[in-house]
């Protein structure tokens, strides 16, 4: 028996690691991976709550989160390719205009 709070603490640690990666990283692809890390942290708390409350709805929600993450990754990486094509850099400090 593992207390539910241990799972929530692990999920919180993963979320805050993703959040700090989002803030300190300067490579646009790594920033994107930090967002995936945050989504994974949230998924863990969904599954832990599903097991705790004996309801499978939490596990079904994980699938919806995964679908949104996949769609977001496809569109986001396409945007990164478009930005790289016009700027020839992946450093977000040098991407400071909304105009392509």
């Amino acid at each position: 028996m593992v207390p539910l709070s241990y799972y929530l603490v692990l999920s919180g640690i993963l979320f805050s690691c993703g959040m700090v990666g989002f803030l300190i990283k300067r490579n646009i692809i790594t920033i994107f991976m930090s967002i995936e890390l945050m989504l994974n942290g949230v998924n863990l708390s969904f599954v832990a709550f599903a097991a705790h409350w004996h309801s499978l709805a939490g596990q079904v929600f994980v699938f919806f989160v995964m679908v949104v993450a996949a769609a977001e990754a496809a569109v986001g990486l396409a945007i990164i390719i478009a930005v790289y094509r016009t700027r020839e850099t992946l450093n977000i400090d040098q991407v400071n205009l909304l105009k392509l």
Partner: protein
Amino acid sequence: MSLHLILFLAFGAVCVAGAINLLAQTHPINSALSLIVVMAALAGEYLLLGAEFVAAVQVIVYAGAIMVLFVFTIMLLNAGEEERTKGSRVAVLLGVPGMLLGSVLVAWVVLKHSGTGSVAIGALLGDPKTIGQLLFHDFLLPFEITSVLILIAIMGAVVLASKPQAVQKRRAH
């Protein structure tokens, strides 16, 4: 100390180590590989929670499909070492204590206020049959809406990633 707790701590340690390695590495391909480690360890945690199907989908969709897309983009754009600027040093100085503060705060609140609820090993059976019945019966409308979302994402990705000349040629026709 039960076997369940030992396995939880082992997978959790791998998760946290991978997440910290993601932050510490400067080359994006190393960060991507540590993210794959985090996702594989999370699949182990899902197995401990009795969510077999979620664990399988985590490995196949997340660690398989999405991360392959990331690695493919890193190789396509020939991404190199991250450049450190003055702004990023300030962000490290403020961000790392911020992460520690956030983690400690979350841990304190959760451990203090979550009561004595605990999760037994395999407390709930997340087998594909039950999940499929739930997904195609109770969650049918969200399921159909996600298919529209995926369609829009495919079209958006194709339009955004296509070469600008190709777009202009299509407009001219």
